[in-house]
């Protein structure tokens, strides 16, 4: 236990997390501090470009891709199955209609790239390595959850998913496959892979050195936006609020199990747990507004951004990391 506390302390006392807390505090105190929208969106693109390129360049450097296929399959399955668990838990413990339950659980099947980036930065402070192909797993886990969420809504609702008009479907497909995070993550990964070490050297002063500082500025913004989403939204019933805390724990447990099965090293195991535990708040909300317009957007925006994201960043990341370390220490079955 002592070991977990010191790791949790490390996480909380790191500049990125402290700036997140500063943002939450300023947002809750209704300060007029805001990071302009254009800058917030560009910082997110920068973070994805940085971890994508670094992943690809490491790949080209001949880093053993052991376990990559396993990690990818595990990721896709987790993204597809977690919404099923979430759906039935929500239908049992809340008064959500089937569309809202399906939409919320799709968020939890998918991933939050920024939570992943924050976990990568945390691993850096603990000097723990991880397989850089995990970046590709992030991109792969974005979409299956949306498909499984739509299927759940279709099966549960009498009128069927036919509701998604042919026209909306084409916007939906483009939203799922070509949204900015997938394009930047996968694109930067491929470019890093093609240009390898030489390419890395030329972009490192931009993509590597200032990474942690940019993460601080971005998490300051995230804290402000999360706090304002919380204060702005109607008071949430206890059912959904608790769901937004225990669902990430269920996701993390499944992620840890899958990673151990596939035999990933501790760093990658922790990251898979983080991905399973994290909930999307950019890509999936946009898709759900098109596919399931009747689902209550205020609910899933508040749960994923204002409850689950802070929980994962403040508590989850060190917790899943300690669990991965503990699993690695105990001799497997």
């Amino acid at each position: 236990m002592g070991e977990l506390l010191s790791v949790a302390g490390d996480n909380l006392l790191s500049p990125p997390i402290l700036f997140f807390i500063l943002g939450m505090g300023a947002g809750l105190a209704r300060s007029d501090l805001t990071i302009p929208e254009a800058v917030g969106k560009t910082l997110a693109l920068y973070l994805m470009m940085a971890i994508g390129f670094k992943g690809g360049a490491a790949m080209a450097g001949g880093e053993a891709a052991a376990g990559m296929a396993g990690a990818m399959t595990a990721g896709i399955l987790l993204s597809f199955l977690i919404p099923v668990i979430g759906f039935f838990l929500l239908r049992a413990t809340t008064r959500f209609d089937s569309d809202t339950a399906a939409a919320v659980s799709a968020h939890y099947g998918s991933v939050s790239v920024v939570t992943f980036v924050t976990a990568v930065s945390f691993l850096g402070t603990q000097n723990v390595v991880y397989d850089t192909y995990m970046v590709a797993v992030v991109a792969l886990m974005e979409t299956p959850a949306i498909v499984s969420g739509l299927l759940l809504a279709h099966l549960a609702a009498s009128r069927g998913a036919g509701g998604v008009s042919q026209r909306a479907m084409s916007h939906l497909v483009r939203e799922i496959l070509l949204n900015s995070s997938v394009v930047v993550l996968v694109g930067s990964f491929v470019i890093g892979w093609l240009t390898g070490e030489r390419g890395m050297e030329r972009v490192a002063p931009f993509l590597v050195a200032p990474f942690t500082g940019v993460l601080c500025l971005f998490l300051l913004d995230m804290g402000l936006v999360a706090a304002r989403q919380l204060t702005g939204s109607k008071v949430l019933a206890p059912g959904p609020l608790i769901f937004a805390i225990y669902m990430p724990l269920i996701g993390a447990a499944l992620g840890l199990a899958a990673a151990t099965l596939v035999g990933l090293q501790p760093g990658s195991t922790a990251l898979l747990a983080v991905l399973a535990a994290s909930a999307s708040y950019i890509a999936v909300p946009a898709a759900m507004r098109i596919a399931l317009p009747r689902a209550n957007a205020a609910v899933y925006l508040t749960l994923s951004l204002a409850v689950t994201f802070p929980f994962n960043v403040l508590v989850g990341i060190p917790l899943y990391f300690a669990a991965a370390q503990w699993l690695a220490a105990t001799p497997g079955p």
Binding site: I282, M288, P293, L301, L305
Partner: protein, 103 residues
């Protein structure tokens, strides 16, 4: 003396995710054109919203289209249906334009 022609101006304030759907409605209803204007905050029956830096899904956009009275009828009906699913409001008002032929 400048010759003016009576037309209708439809203004729709709607959720950003519904923007492509609304543009489809306008194109199919043969609207001669439209202009998109950014909204940076608002309040309706539900809680107030402020230009949310990161999640476009929570933002609104304004679409203005100058159309003939007949086209206005069709567009208002279609937009009404869209607003059953998506947050927003629509208004129509009288305007006068120079080059009648254009609209």
């Amino acid at each position: 003396m400048v010759e003016l022609h009576k037309r209708k101006k439809i203004e729709v304030i709607i959720e950003t995710p519904a923007r492509p759907l609304l543009i489809d409605v306008l194109n199919r209803a043969g609207s001669p054109g439209y202009t998109l204007i950014p909204a940076i905050g608002g309040r309706g029956l539900r809680s107030a919203w402020d230009r949310n830096q990161l999640m476009d899904a929570a933002n609104q956009v304004i679409i203005v289209t100058i159309v003939s009275a007949e086209a206005a009828e069709a567009i208002m009906a279609e937009v009404g249906k869209l607003l059953e699913d998506y947050r927003g409001v629509v208004t129509v008002s009288d305007v006068e334009v120079l080059r009648g032929g254009r609209f």
